[in-house]
């Protein structure tokens, strides 16, 4: 776990992440200017650090309703604005970028942040980036596998000699700058079904698993499959961290949390997927067994501890601004996380 900068004696890590959501506020119809949204995000990272939150992530989504397409640039600004919080992508759509360039960017963020940078590499859940950046969706699977292998190799070796199908070959190439301590934690972003989790396991790479909603137990097969595959491939699953992620909204009471989140989750789904979030399903969400992180602080703590029992994960990442949750609400969420949620979950999970 040390290799991935995880100290289990301190208990489960809690992180926040954003894809730079930029949809009109469903309650007012007004849209914050992109510049303001980005600056708010940087401020949120500072508040998160002050609240004792462990990790802050920024992801890229190349379509309308998002602002952090250049997520590495935003992470660079956050690296400068903060001093202790870990910084990660959430995720980097590796398929549409050059692994060498991605590594250069994150090694630089690692230097700016004095050794706090991590990469979470994913395939993206939408096809927009592929069209925009000229990557053939036909080779979707293979491109990602090849690029992730190269990224891992760059992280592990000093002089890179490599040959593949989707990028020019490298001969004794030195990738510079090097991160502060020689390597970066690199995670693989995994969606719901086990197939992708199994690939992460075979590769022996940490897994960040999205559990956006529905019964948490539905994601257990992916966690088990990941550890089994890692073991079959000769890795020790105990040395491989797992992170889970979900949409997040906490308030003083369940009612307040549901009222605060619903317009955003519904509006966000409507804007991005073309269909809203069913109220009936949302009404079930505060249940401890449901993966969607909405509820009072007691409910959120219960959910996290329940999932910790279930998955034994080392980190939880909360997507805090889905559907354009406004800045003042984010501040309130961070306050509750720092004051109540962190102390409780750390206490129960510290080893």
């Amino acid at each position: 776990m040390e290799k991935y900068r995880i100290d289990q004696s301190k208990g489960i890590e809690f992180g926040l992440y954003s894809l730079g959501d930029h949809i009109p506020n469903p309650l007012t119809g007004e849209r914050t200017p992109a510049q303001q949204r980005i600056q708010e995000l940087i401020e949120v990272s500072q508040l998160a650090e002050q609240a004792g939150i462990d990790v802050f992530g920024v992801g890229e989504s190349h379509q309308s309703y998002f602002t952090t397409q250049a997520h590495t640039v935003v992470l660079g600004a956050i690296a400068q604005a903060t001093s202790t919080i870990k910084l990660t992508s959430s995720a980097t759509v590796l398929s549409v970028s050059d692994p060498v360039r991605v590594y250069e960017d994150f090694a630089t963020i690692d230097l700016i942040s004095d050794g706090r940078a991590e990469i979470v590499a994913g395939r993206g859940s939408r096809v927009g980036a592929y069209h925009l950046l000229g990557v053939d969706l036909q080779d979707y699977e293979e491109i990602f596998e090849e690029k992730l292998e190269l990224l891992k190799k760059i992280n592990e070796e000093e002089l890179i000699t490599w040959e593949g199908q989707y990028r020019a070959s490298l001969h004794n190439a030195q990738i510079l700058p090097q991160p502060k301590n020689g390597s970066l934690p690199i995670w693989r972003a995994v969606g719901g079904p086990p197939a992708s989790a199994i690939k992460a396991g075979y590769m022996g790479i940490p897994m960040m698993l999205t559990t956006l909603g529905g019964p948490a137990v539905n994601f257990k097969p992916s966690v088990d499959a990941y550890r089994e595959a890692a073991e079959r491939s000769g890795f020790d699953p105990k040395e491989l961290p797992i992170a889970t992620t979900s949409l997040f909204y906490v308030a003083d009471t369940t009612k307040e949390a549901l009222q605060g989140m619903y317009p955003h989750i519904n509006g966000g789904f409507q804007a991005i997927r073309g269909g809203g979030y069913p109220k009936q399903q949302f009404a079930q969400a505060p249940d401890t067994r449901d993966a969607l992180m909405v509820g009072s602080k007691e409910q959120i703590i219960e959910k996290l501890l329940y999932q910790y029992e279930l998955f034994g994960m080392q980190r939880f990442m909360a997507q805090i601004d889905f559907g354009g949750v406004p800045f003042e609400k984010l501040m309130k969420n961070i306050e509750i996380i720092g004051n109540d949620i962190l102390p409780a979950i750390k206490k129960y999970t510290a080893k």
């Binding site: 969706l137 549901l258 997927r273 073309g274 069913p278 109220k279």
Partner: protein, 188 residues
Amino acid sequence: MKIVALAGSIVGSKTKTAISKVVEILQEKYPEHEVTLLDLAEYNMQFSDGRNYFEYDGDTKYVTETIMSADAIVIGTPTFQASIPATLKNIFDLLPVNAFRDKVVSMVVTAGTSKHYLMIEQQLKPILAYMKANIVPTYVFIEEKDFLRKEIVNDDVLFRLERLAEDTVMVADAFAEIRAKKDAEYDF
């Protein structure tokens, strides 16, 4: 209420004739509702490539967005090789998984032989159920002999189409009422 009548084929006249009749009945019986006919023969649709439906251009965007904005949809389909035509399947492929949640869908099917009577049960209803439609259970099956020169000549079929139009509106009304009642229970 917005009702969309969809003719699912780009060839032939039977499905178009039948679905046009449904539109005529709906407009006559329910002038308060907005009825839109989408005849796929009149549109140039792209094959689904994984994008969100609203990210397409032109006809593909128009047709899918019109369907998604409907409260009720009457689907007319011919029978090709014991199934629905590819043109209709493409519409489903273009839409999101839960596209028909909170929508009512009813069906009219035409076929060259009575032996295709259960095609809808085996081929179309499972897709609609997967996509979360509130399906009107009874559908109207129309054979070749029921048409003469682009007119329906079987009175039984005409009566049944009338009942289908009524059922579609009635079921949509009922579900809207149930939903409103259920939503009122939630305090968010």
